[in-house]
Structure formats: C-alpha cells, structure tokens
C-alpha cells in the first residue's frame, strides 16, 4: 500500500513531469484565463438577470432558459442552425467529391486547376463575403446581370432582400468557401489508394461506378467521417458570412445561433438571453467535438 502511494507521487512529481508542467504552464494559464473562465462566466451569466451594461443584477436560476425555451424564435434559430449545417455540409461534401474526382484524372494543367480550386478557401472569408455582397447587388451586381443576359434566369430574385433567397445566398457563400477543404482532403485520400486495386478490379470486370463505390469510397471511409465532422463544426460555427451579408435578416430569416448570440448581446443588449444561447451553442458544439476527438484518437496511436 505504501508502495502504491509512493509510486503515485513519483508519477505525478518526478523531474520529467515537473519539466512538462513548467513547459505547459504558460499555455494552460492562458487558456484558463481566456477560455475556461469565460465559459464558466457565460454559464453564470445565463443564471442571472442582466442590465443593459451586461452587469449581473439578480440571480434567477434557470428562469432565463425557461423563457428562451418558450420562445418560438429561439427554436426557429436553433433549428435553422441545424439545417444550415446539414445543407451546407452535404453540398460541400458532394461538390468536394466531384472536384476531387476531376482532379484525380491525369492531364496537363491539373496542378494549375488544383491551385485555382483552392482560392475560395485560401481567401479571407470576411473579404469574400463583402465581395459576394457586391455580386448579389440587385441593380448593379454582375450575378443577376449574367443570369439575365445568358437567359438562365429571366427574373432573378433580389438575393439578400427576401427570406428564402437570402438564406440560399448566405448558405451558398458558406458552401463556396468550404468546398476546397473537402476537395483537397478527398483528393489526398484518393491518391493514397494503390492503383493496382483498380487494375485488378478492372480485370475482374468491375465497371467505373462499381470500383468507385467499392474501392474509392471504401478507401476514403475514415477520411470521410473525419472531414465531415470537422466541416459540420465549422459550418455550425460560421458567423462572418451571415453577419456581413444580412446580419441575420431580413426579419430573422438567416439568423442562426452564432449570429443570434452576438446580436442579442451587442445589438439588443439582452445579455442574459445571449448567454443562454451561447450555452446552448456550447453544448451542441461540445457533443460534435467529442465525437470528432474520440474518432481522431481511435485511429492515431500515442
């Protein structure tokens, strides 16, 4: 028994462990001060009534949550956050897969094509969103002009002006910036699949589509899961695109949890409501992140 306590102490406090704690101390303190404490604080705030200066006035327990959960708008925003993510991730996934397949074909100029496909991801998202605002401009924007001139759409909508089209326009910009990530990940995965597999499948009489499903997709299985989870987290977290294009409007039609947290606090000064929504966002995000982390750890050895 004495031996066990001794070895536990040795395990916690030996020269090597001490050095590790010293090396990590700055980062840990930094994270405690600016990340863990703020999470605790936002949770505490969600249990209080606040004034316009965001000071805590009276303790109300979970009453703020009850108020939020009874509010139809809160549910609309939360559900919108979820289908924003679902739509965003699926389109990014499919287009990313298509582009990866195209880039996996051997031809001259493939490297250039790859470089060009990366641009939307490499570019700064806030600045791209500003450019899209100009692209979507109803009168002088070149998108509607091009749609009309080519005869694709005779009467294009005022993109950011109506509920459905504004949502479509916003989610498209988020998708647009997120496609290259999937394309690059899938391409890297495809190039790691041995060519012989395709050759022997070909000899066995498998067609292109069969070998795509049984070799390519099977080979990409883990990558597909990891990149989809990552993309889901990023898409759910998106704030910049919506805030810059519509600030959640018109009439809340593009408001998702992230923009709603910000607007509830900084615009409408309802800090307690913002805190509740931040906690809800935190819970949803933590669940997905936990799945991601677990999966990541399963395949990496330490």
């Amino acid at each position: 028994m004495g031996d066990a306590t001794f070895s536990l102490r040795r395990r916690l406090w030996n020269p090597e462990a001490r050095l590790a704690y010293v090396l990590m101390a700055p980062t840990i303190l930094f994270l405690i001060a600016f990340m863990f404490y703020p999470i605790v604080y936002v949770f505490v705030m969600s249990l209080f009534k606040t004034n316009k200066l965001s000071q805590l006035t009276t303790f109300v327990g979970f009453k703020n949550y009850v108020t939020r959960f009874k509010d139809a708008e809160f549910w609309q925003t939360t559900v919108r956050s979820l289908y924003w993510t679902a739509i965003g991730v699926s389109v990014k996934f499919l287009m990313g897969m298509l582009i990866a397949i195209l880039l996996n074909v051997n031809y001259r100029g493939r490297k250039l094509a790859r470089m060009l496909f990366i641009i939307p991801w490499a570019s700064s998202v806030p600045i791209s969103a500003l450019l899209w605002q100009w692209v979507y401009h109803p009168e002088f924007g070149l998108l509607n002009h091009s749609l009309k001139a080519t005869g694709l759409v005779a009467n294009p909508p005022i993109w950011l002006g109506a509920a459905v089209s504004a949502f479509a326009a916003c989610v498209w910009v988020d998708i647009w910036a997120g496609i290259p990530f999937f394309a690059l990940v899938f391409l890297a995965g495809m190039q790691a699949i041995p060519q012989e597999l395709y050759e022997s499948a070909h000899i066995d009489g498998a067609g292109g589509i069969r070998s795509f499903f049984s070799i390519t997709l099977a080979g990409l299985r883990d990558l597909i899961l990891i990149s989809t989870l990552l993309s889901a987290i990023w898409t759910f977290n998106d704030f910049n695109v919506i805030f810059i294009l519509t600030r959640g409007g018109p009439a809340g039609a593009t408001n998702i949890l992230t923009t709603s947290v910000y607007m509830s606090g900084f615009t409408f000064l309802k800090w307690d409501s913002a805190a509740v929504q931040a906690v809800v966002t935190f819970v949803i995000l933590s669940i997905v992140s936990l799945v991601y982390a677990r999966f990541y750890f399963k395949r990496e050895r330490f």
Binding site: A17, F117, A122, L142, L223, R299
Partner: protein, 276 residues
Amino acid sequence: MKWQNRSKYIAIPLTILILLFLLFPFFVMISTMLKAGEDVYATPPIWIPRHIEWSNFVTVWTQYDLASYFLASIVIAVGATALNTILCVPAAYAVARLNFVGRKFALYLLLMIEMFSPVIVIISLFKIVTRVGLYDTFASLIIMDALFTVAFNTWMMNGYFKTIPKDIEEAALIDGCTRVQTITKVMLPIAVPGLVTVMIYSFIFAWNEFLFGLSFISSKNKMPLTIALYNFVGRWMTQWQYLCMAALLAIIPVLVLFYLIEKRLVAGLAGGAVKG
C-alpha cells in the same frame, strides 16, 4: 490506362466549367476594381470597363488610408504569431516527448478546444477586455487571435516533434545538453517546416479575423483590414471599385501564405489519414 486517357476529355471541360462558376466573385472583383465610377453603376451592368481607371490603385492608398489598415493588420498578425509560437512550442514538446500524468487528457482537451467557437465566449471576453483596460488596443486582438490558434498549433507541433527519432535527442542529452537545450538546438531546427506551418497558420488566422475586431476595436487607426473594409460598405453609396481594389490587395498576402502550407494543413486536419 485507356479509360484514364479518355476520361480527361470529360474532366477538362467540366473542370473549366466549375472553375468559371466558383471563381465568379473574383472575376467580378477584377472587373470592378479598375472601373471608373460611372461604369461601376452602369445599367445594365458591364463586364469590361469602357476605360481602365488605373488611378483607383492610387486612390485606395491616398484617400482611404489603406496603409494604416494594412499596418494594423500586420502588427496584430505578427504579434499574435509571436505570442502563439512562444506558447505552443514548449507545450507541444511536453505532450510529444515527456511522460506525465494527464498527458492523454491534455491531448484530448487540445483537440476539443481546437473546435471551439469564439462566439460562445465573446460576451465574457468583451467584459474581461473592457475591465482590464484592453478595449480598443492591438493587444486585445493579439491575445484573442493567439488564443484561438494555440490549441491547433500545439497539436500540429506535437505531431512534428513526434516524427523526430528519439535517438537524436538522447545523443544530445548524453553529450551534456540540458532538456531545454535539446529543444532549442536539436528539436526546433529539425522541426522548422512544422514551425513555419504553425506560424503561417496563426498569421493567416489573425489576418482574416473578424469577430474580435468588430467587438473590441473602435478607433480608426487601430482597425485591421477586415473591419475597415466592412465599415467601408454601407455608408452612403459604397464605392465598389475601391472596395474591390482594396479587397484584392488584402487577399494577396494570405493567398500566397496559404499555398505554402495547404498540404500540411490538410494532413494535420485529417489526422494522419493523409500524409502532407
């Protein structure tokens, strides 16, 4: 193979078509940035300027203080990169090489924090920043930008340190190096590609950051580019030709930097399932 040869006749046109579609906003940017005012607001809109207004390039620097915003962005991004590197390198060495209780938990936590959204804590951070007198300072943005990249970068550096064979380090220890010396003199020089990757990553993150700049900065001379360009839109009638010119100039540095690290970034994010 035969089908490979044939498939390029489908792949190339399709690639060009999708590229035209995806790069549309950049074509618009290039078309607009050299237009004169009356061409920007022509009805119907036109793609090719009737005359090229080269002076737009000068105007963004002289009339719109672009240099001041660039300087602010550079100060913030360099500061955030420096702070981030100082924090993440020692921490990464610890989790990669040293044995201590809670090592696995630390790695787990890093991966979770990497996914964290600034929006969740923006309210708390706003209160902290104002209370400690950091509101409207570069320091506030430097701290926040370093904060939100430190987990990912520690994680990435940990990966690079782990690829270095232990023998090299042990040889240095036997030769009389201290642990700290093995980090600075043996490990870091080998891990330079990794170090460059994480430094560029924090630089890009800080350069593109929007939410903290929006919430913590009010003076014009401290505004980073993203916030300055955002504020530029919507006041009276936006002069889109200048905005497009400024947007191109603001994007170029991060485009170049991104190309240097994209392969390593993808490998790091996908978790060793692909090799960079």
